[in-house]
Symmetry: C2
């Protein structure tokens, strides 16, 4: 390095000669003063931006290192998301009380121009500041107009770094949430998800709605009791609060479940519900807003119409978003099936990422819900597209989204911690906070217990009381609640909601998250159950069995006892969707009626016709449509081989999940081989 | 899907009963009108944001698909970056002339409050709009203050989507550039880079400075000839233009070179120069700005002092940034060497990414140059940290940055295209544009030819004239020039620079990029040279030889003819840096003097002491310090094995670059094995 710097010095010494000539030219420099000052100002703002990002990067590094220490020492009393929150709180407090930077931001109070006839009920989006003529003050800018963008309401003088340590809520919705939600869909263990489809939908769709209304009603009743609150909260406000506090967060619980190998069906219920109820909550809160707008514009007219419109919104937005997500997933599958883009894994991965992200954006741009769309897009990508990808892209996309998800979720929890202190729009109202905690608990109970009772009437493997307690307990609040709460913080009511939501998130994540292991043992939940192995596992058979007879407190599930919904869909999927969208067999030539043969021939690739039986079964997930005998047959079709060379020992474990980047023969099964040197 | 929607409908039907009760409560709703309207407004803005992002995502998808078609059909007349620019131009034109959306953004002209005593020479950063009292207009907001952030100067009424299809230049600097630059460092082929270190530093440091001053002086002379320009441009302005138009872009040329397997030394010269001159240009332009500020504040005092301060800035900022980058790289190496974070590849990858990004931010926050820091951080990460990573993380980080780089570079070129039409601050001045093109060419020539002449005086394998022509021709302008130009667009002069820079970038990328193949054959540059294989390749030997005798028009390089700088550094690196930062041998116990043995013992890991010879040589790059005999010995140490089972044929290619995600035995060499079914 020293050498390089020397080089630089020597090099530039030569320029000096040349440049000294220029100095004479520079003497004639003048004007452009504003430019230079603006440069300096831009530089200062850029520095603050960097400092701001650096703060969070530093927090994340700290979190990563501490998580590692915890994992290394097998400590489980605090989870990584809890850690991120706590570090965030500490740093937030330091920023709040430690720094008293002299503000370098220039403020100017302004009033509307006399000529303006502004009579909207909302503040304008942009201000145009016409700079005045020179009043003899020296170097005031003359005759220029500058644009200013709306930032928010002001209550008191804000510390500069405070303003800077916060992000636009747009960043959460457009940048941070999509990878988290997509990853949830992409990594969903679909076999168990579909097996418990009925219960998951019940909890997520009906349960979340019940919870939102119960919380909304209880909060409204409570607010009426307190004089200073009753003025600022309408029922719509409390209902909105109910909708935003209802979704549960999968992150913390699920990663503990993963570590402990908790019973797969409980895993599926908790994960499936919390993934879907994020989607439900966001649609629900949107519908409530729409209801508010209609109600407003109708000015007290016929509210029932507005209500049913809102209900229609809910159903329409949810199903349209789902449709967009699934469609985009299928389009990606078709693109990867019928082009040879897999020859260029980088392009393929880029296409995959871009198509998935555009799903989110298309839904958002059409006033639908990107979260729902990207969730179902993720499920479709995993179910269909994944099978068409080259081995390189499979691994790359999985690893990419895993990493993005990790960074995004830890960022959001750090941010929740920091913003508790730095976000200028908190409104602490002890009464509202207390009521919020109580109602959140009651709302969760109103979701889990009655619905479990109803489900148990029809469901064969009943959900035992201990499982119900665990479901109740798994109701941590997380990123989605926070993101919804921080979206609009203009009024007092909204600010009190944000504060309460932040506190609920922080406390549930730290305490409920930390106590999960303890609760699992109190409720006698089976842990250490053989994990479901993705793709084709060698102990797949064993895990499959243990799940069936050990975990749920009922007799084993026979194939015909699988959820009706799952069976119908599974059949349709195997016969039509998979042959159309992937290289799987049976092909459409075999499943479609004879009249459609020409069409089927177009939609069937050569690869699909000629490929080997063993290969085509190497699916992304050991799907719900696979039966035991298939698993067994597949496992026995290639035997593990052992052999040795004079100085080497090889063990070959056949494995159909290609992990290699060598894409020259992407269709051939790969074997990963550990080479033990003696 | 149909089934799920049905489920949703059935589920929600139950809520209806419950909710009808609530309707009565809702009748009492009132107020909170502003909240709801603000919600609606936030939603609209969010939709526009999404639309905006969608636009670019769509452009990238289009580019990916077209690139694939081109690669598939082996078309080379247009390169992917060229494609991205062209698509960008088309979409930009459509947005500009196709849409005439009625603006839904609310503007309000404002004037400073009477009480304000604002006498700065720059516009304020924030405006505080005190909303007036109710003047009887109905539902005007009462008694609220809103904050507005500075956006820029306004010339004419802007179309809404226009404003929206542009991004803050902060996004380029904080989000888009870092992965591109880091990837350049991380994927640098260090062997050839160090072998040509002298020439690369000469072109990048001295050449870029010469080019900037030549362009600056010529442009100033030209501007003086045109009356309407001479008023708005100072010499400092034209010098700044020289600095921002001097850096060349590696992307387009390099990916063509990659496709064609162009001679590795030419590759190293072009790539090394263009990577470093980005760094030089950004520091140079910063120094020019600083000079301007000092010159300004001194108000015509002693400019020579300001000049030498600026020169000191240049050297100081460059070397400090380099130091920060290298230090952070080394810290990451130490972290990964002395902790067992590699047991958790996800954490390890996250740590790697976060440390690398924080390097950029630390440099930016300390008023240094993040680009320089992140570049050298990338080089150190590849040189040291990479060797400590688990196989999973190696692959993950490589693939991640490859993908990020691909997306970022295509995004930036799309954006250059779109912004040509939509960015509101273009200033087309045909004279300035023409002069810009001419001076850019002359500046490049003033860099390449004189310096090549000087280099050839001392250099043993001379750089032939054809190579010089190719170097001249490889001077496409790209992302860095554009990013620097768009950073400040307040004055007319800056806007004219932006327009000229955009045009130069667009035209050089499309035409020079497209004609590269043609030029390579005109200049008789050897193509189809055996590619350097990363890590340890089986034909590494052959490529090494062919490079030595075939490509450069001189006799082969003997070991002692390697650059002196490279030899000194290589020796130091092998003896001290690598043993300290990685698990390589010889260990510090062997290289440090005896008095330091206790220290050396602490810094040497057990793994380092006990590991196998073959493993420790499995370095990330076949480094400049490796000699031929090493390569040969390594290649012969494990023999390929062939054997077969009744129905299977195996060929095992020993390979020390682990590709597997199986991290259970990360220290053991892996073998990837193609399994041919018979």
């Amino acid at each position: 390095m020293v050498a390089k710097v020397k080089m630089a010095v020597r090099g530039d010494a030569q320029i000096v000669l040349f440049v000294i000539l220029c100095i004479f030219l520079l003497k004639s420099c003048n004007g452009a003063a504003t430019d230079i000052e603006l440069d300096a100002k831009a530089q200062l703002l850029h520095r603050l931006d960097s400092l701001n990002l650096l703060l969070y990067t530093f927090l994340l590094i700290l979190t990563v290192l501490t998580i590692w220490t915890f994992k290394h020492r097998r400590l489980r009393f605090l989870h990584e998301t809890g850690l991120a929150v706590i570090y965030g709180l500490i740093i937030g407090a330091i920023i709040r009380y430690g720094f008293t930077t002299s503000s370098t931001i220039l403020h100017m109070p302004v009033v509307p121009d006399n000529s303006s006839k502004y009579n909207q009920s909302v503040p304008p989006d942009t201000l145009w500041l016409r700079f005045p003529e020179d009043k003899g003050g020296g170097n005031i800018i003359k005759n220029k107009t500058f644009a200013y963008l709306f930032r928010g309401e002001i209550y008191k003088q804000d510390n500069e770094i405070d303003l800077k340590a916060t992000f636009d809520s747009e960043i959460f919705f457009n940048i941070i949430l999509p990878p988290i939600i997509f990853h949830a869909g992409y990594s969903l263990k679909r076999k168990y998800f579909f097996r418990n489809l009925g219960a998951i939908l019940m909890y997520a769709l009906i349960g979340t709605s019940i919870s939102a209304f119960v919380i909304g009603a209880l909060m409204y009743a409570f607010v009426q009791l307190i004089p200073h609150l009753s003025a600022s909260f309408t029922f719509l406000d409390t209902l909105y609060f109910g909708a935003l506090i209802s979704p549960t967060d999968p992150l913390t619980i699920i990663s503990i479940f993963n570590d402990l190998h908790v019973d797969v069906n409980l895993y599926a219920l908790v994960f499936g519900e919390s993934v879907l109820n994020d989607a439900v909550a966001i649609v629900l809160s949107g519908s409530i807003q729409n209801y508010g707008e209609r109600y407003q514009s109708g000015s007290g007219g016929f509210e029932t119409v507005a209500f049913f419109q809102a209900f229609g919104d809910f159903v329409g937005i949810f199903s349209l978003s789902l449709f967009i997500g699934a469609t985009m997933g299928c389009i990606t599958a078709l693109l990867t099936k019928f082009t040879r883009v897999r020859d260029f894994p980088l392009l393929e991965s880029a296409l995959f990422v871009l198509m998935s992200y555009s799903t989110f954006l298309i839904a958002e741009a059409s006033d639908l819900t990107g979260v729902v769309a990207v969730l179902f897009c993720g499920i479709c990508q995993a179910h269909y597209t994944y099978n068409n990808l080259s081995p390189d892209s499979r691994q790359r996309t999985k690893q990419l989204f895993e990493l993005l998800n990790f960074l995004a979720e830890n960022f959001i929890f750090s941010y929740i911690g920091v913003s508790m202190f730095t976000f200028p729009k908190h409104h602490f109202d002890p009464g509202f906070i207390f009521a919020g905690f109580l109602c959140a608990l009651l709302g969760r109970a109103a979701n889990v217990y009655p619905l479990s009772f109803i489900l148990n009437l029809a469901r064969k493997p009943k959900i035992s009381l201990n499982y119900q307690h665990m479901l109740f307990f798994a109701g941590l609040r997380g990123a989605m609640s926070f993101a919804l709460a921080i979206r609009n913080t203009v009024s007092d009511a909204r600010q009190a909601m944000l504060t309460t939501t932040s506190l609920i998130v922080i406390l549930t994540v730290i305490f409920q998250g930390g106590a999960t292991t303890q609760f699992l043992s109190w409720f006698n939940i089976p842990v250490g159950v053989d994990e479901e192995i993705e793709g084709l596992s060698h102990n797949g058979m064993r895990s499959y069995n243990s799940m069936q007879d050990g975990s749920l407190p009922s007799s084993g599930i026979k194939p015909n006892e699988k959820a009706l919904l799952a069976r119908i869909w599974g059949d349709f999927d195997t016969r039509y969707m998979k042959p159309l969208l992937t290289h799987s067999r049976p092909t459409l030539l075999e499943t479609l009626p004879v009249c459609c043969t020409p069409l089927a021939r177009i939609l069937t690739t050569t690869q699909q016709m000629t490929q080997d039986e063993a290969v085509r079964k190497a699916d992304s997930d050991s799907d719900f449509c696979l039966e035991d005998r298939e698993l067994e047959r597949r496992r026995t079709s290639v035997q593990p081989v052992s052999f040795h060379q004079p100085n080497l020992n090889y063990t070959i474990n056949p494995c159909y999940q290609p992990n290699s980047t060598d894409a020259t023969n992407p269709d051939e099964p790969y074997v990963i081989l550990n080479l033990h040197r003696r």
